[in-house]
Assembly symmetry: C2
Homo-oligomer: 443 residues x 2
């Protein structure tokens, strides 16, 4: 079912297939998505309704576009207390994480030389749009984690686009518990285009965040002349680094069970998902392979799992830790689990990864649902240049300087010489005329 | 030459023209740029050479693509000591600013509940590409400010694409002083495509930063499925907020001189540039208008200035400070100068701006050339959602968690309930099997 390869013997095509995995190649859907964007820009709401009828719900009509207070009440009335309680707990844990992030985001100021003060202050993006994908099931977890991040940043207007399919009660509850008051039932590229360019009902936002299918990702990429995005998001992926050490009290059989379960949990997301185990132990590799085959039998989403395992997944036996770390930094996994003796020592060597899970009691699933960390993460190697969604995503810096006469006096010769090189004489003049009268001013 | 409007009486078309200014509408150049990108992806270096011969230098040939050590020596041998000295001073001041930024970027870790540790560490983007635009003159200032930011972040491989036109000695010196060892002579959309997708000579990077013309901006936007970018950069712009207070020792005539000079310095960048003055004083407005007309006579780039002033520039008389602040936050200027009594009080109210210049002795030009702050800034209203380029631009967060048995035990019920809602049973199983044996482990 899953292949075992030795990292220093694997064929180039096999290694390339694993490393490249399912890329965000938008070429296949690009022209269709461009059509959708043009329709939304020219026809607004009526195009939104038409697309939604066509692709999501034949019964859809304009009044369904906007979620009402009555819809929210209906959601609470039809959802079990246990679920509502657990959504609230998710939000509470997410707030702790994102508020701690917020505390790291600090204004600063420094006098670098006499009369030259520089600094930066952080402000929230004013209007943001959250994209919450839908499927056969509702995804309240995505709704709450995006909303908590944006709320913690202090965004003024936060809107949410949720799936028009099904009831999505849990998503509505998650949105409401986070204080999101503007929710629309629209999905796909049309939702992204509406948030980017605005329609009669949905007014445009400054930034869009949230994962989606290839159409959504293509729309996010194609609307970037108008709107900022969190990142292009692709299929989910995991790399698990496990060694054969048993000093932490876990025998090889137990380790194999955990590795298999965590890999399977990742690839149940879809047929394009990727699950990689890296180990220096041939024994552990074999045990994990057997465990995957065994545990697979119990799962409900076997089609997805089967496809994902046979395409982009593998167990890789690395000659040593060094090769494993090199592979990880090159692969830049969305999720990285470290099931070794001293996981924190290894964390120090990791440069490129979205979210790292240390310890044997820390499967990705607990991070997805409960730890409070953000699970909207860079995929497809984007961890080489992007960060997880977080409070930072919804904030930005305003740089400033404050210079007095003595500071400008110190800098004037640089401006003079370099503005001549660059041929910008009005630049030079704007500095020089400050010294035309020898009059001392205060500020 | 420049129009004066009262902010509460201005016609909607005039206000819209001013507020919208020259947008980054890539539609006009998109199909041409897509062709260029495809050529680079399919033909590599040979397309680079062909485009460069066609558009930049008919004498260009493949060996000119890569800057050599001999080229660097030639640059030093043919450049005056004064210029070299001033470039070094620019770099030194830029380092102070960007290293102070670097000190704000801190790893953190927190135990949020017993057995649940979360944290983040910052790492540098490994491979980055800097785009240094060229024109009639060389722009060493852009080269050094981008290079200092990337170097301070700790990027491993930093490449620079500079204009193939002219000698660009000062740019080569700036690059060399910053420790950039990989420099290519290629510009326009073809440079962006080469850095994004790679050619035989230029290997692909993870992130591209730097300003450019509409072709460069379009290429940056269109390559975002493959590469991250700093932001789409458009024509330069300034908003100057000035009041009639004279308590800081500046009379109205002096203020008017400064405002006019700083506005002219901004609009000499190009015919699409924008210069706006906001004031509550009709007298000051008139004086600034006269000063602009007077100072204009002395400038060398009169064509650019004339076009820019008559299209997107204006002097706006606001009824009060509140309306001025609202205008600024809506406009989100690249540069904002505050020439009022208590500029720091006003800074507190500014949410959307790239770089803010406080005080009468702080023209934008000194920030461009000497203060050490970054002058690659969000234009066209992108300050609503983007930050100036800086050390942050070249870094990213790796999120992590470390959970032990008691922590997972606390979170298990949330995973159970929510994974059922979302229909992901392998997620639940990966948590549950950690509790199948009641054996206490260490980590």
């Amino acid at each position: 079912m899953i292949n075992i390869y030795e990292l220093n013997k694997i064929s180039k095509p096999a290694l390339d297939r694993i490393k490249n995995r399912s890329q965000n190649d938008i070429d296949k859907v690009k022209s269709k998505v461009e059509e959708i964007i043009t329709s939304i820009r020219t026809k607004g709401d009526s195009a939104l309704v038409q697309f939604t009828k066509e692709w999501d719900d034949p019964e859809f009509s304009f009044p369904r576009l906007t979620v009402t207070k009555a819809d929210i009440r209906e959601a609470y009335n039809n959802t079990g207390k246990e679920i509502i309680e657990k959504v609230k707990e998710q939000i509470s844990l997410a707030r702790t994480f994102h508020e701690t992030q917020r505390q790291q985001i600090r204004d600063w100021e420094k006098e670098t030389e006499r009369g030259i003060i520089v600094g930066e202050k952080w402000t929230a993006v004013d209007k943001v749009g959250l994209y919450v994908p839908g499927g056969k099931n509702p995804f309240p977890t995505v709704q709450q984690i995006l909303a908590v991040a944006a709320k913690t940043a202090g965004c003024n207007r936060i809107i949410s686009c949720i799936s028009p399919k099904g009831k999505n009660y849990e998503v509505l509850i998650a949105a409401n518990e986070c204080g999101i008051e503007e929710i629309y039932r629209v999905s796909g590229a049309q939702a992204i285009a509406a948030m980017a360019y605005g329609t009669e009902t949905i007014s445009a936002v400054d930034l869009i965040a949230g994962p989606g299918n290839p159409y959504v990702t293509a729309a996010k990429i194609l609307c970037q002349a108008k709107v900022a995005i969190d990142m292009p998001a692709g299929p989910s992926e995991i790399v698990i680094l496990a060694d054969a050490s048993t000093s932490s009290g876990f025998d090889l059989n137990t380790k194999a069970k955990y590795c298999a379960a965590d890999l399977l949990a990742q690839v149940e997301h879809g047929p394009d998902s990727a699950g990689i185990v890296l180990t220096d132990s041939k024994d552990l590799a074999q045990l994990i392979k057997s465990e995957i085959e065994k545990q697979f039998q119990r799962l409900s989403r076997q089609n997805y799992v089967k496809a994902a395992i046979s395409t982009y997944s593998a167990i890789l036996i690395a000659p040593s830790l060094t090769e494993s770390i090199d592979f990880i930094n090159d692969y830049a996994p969305e999720h990285l689990e470290i099931l070794t003796e001293n996981p924190k020592t290894i964390l120090k060597l990791i440069n490129n990864a979205g979210s790292v899970f240390l310890g044997h009691y820390n499967p990705v699933a607990v991070g997805d649902y409960a730890t409070g960390i953000n699970h909207c993460l860079p995929t497809c190697g984007w961890a080489r240049r992007s960060s997880p969604v977080g409070t930072w995503t919804f904030m930005k810096r305003v740089q400033y300087s404050h210079i007095n006469q003595s500071g400008l006096n110190r800098l004037q010769p640089i401006v003079k010489t370099i503005s001549q090189v660059e041929g910008l004489d009005a630049h030079q003049r704007s500095v020089d005329l400050r010294f035309e009268k020898e009059k001392v001013h205060v500020s």
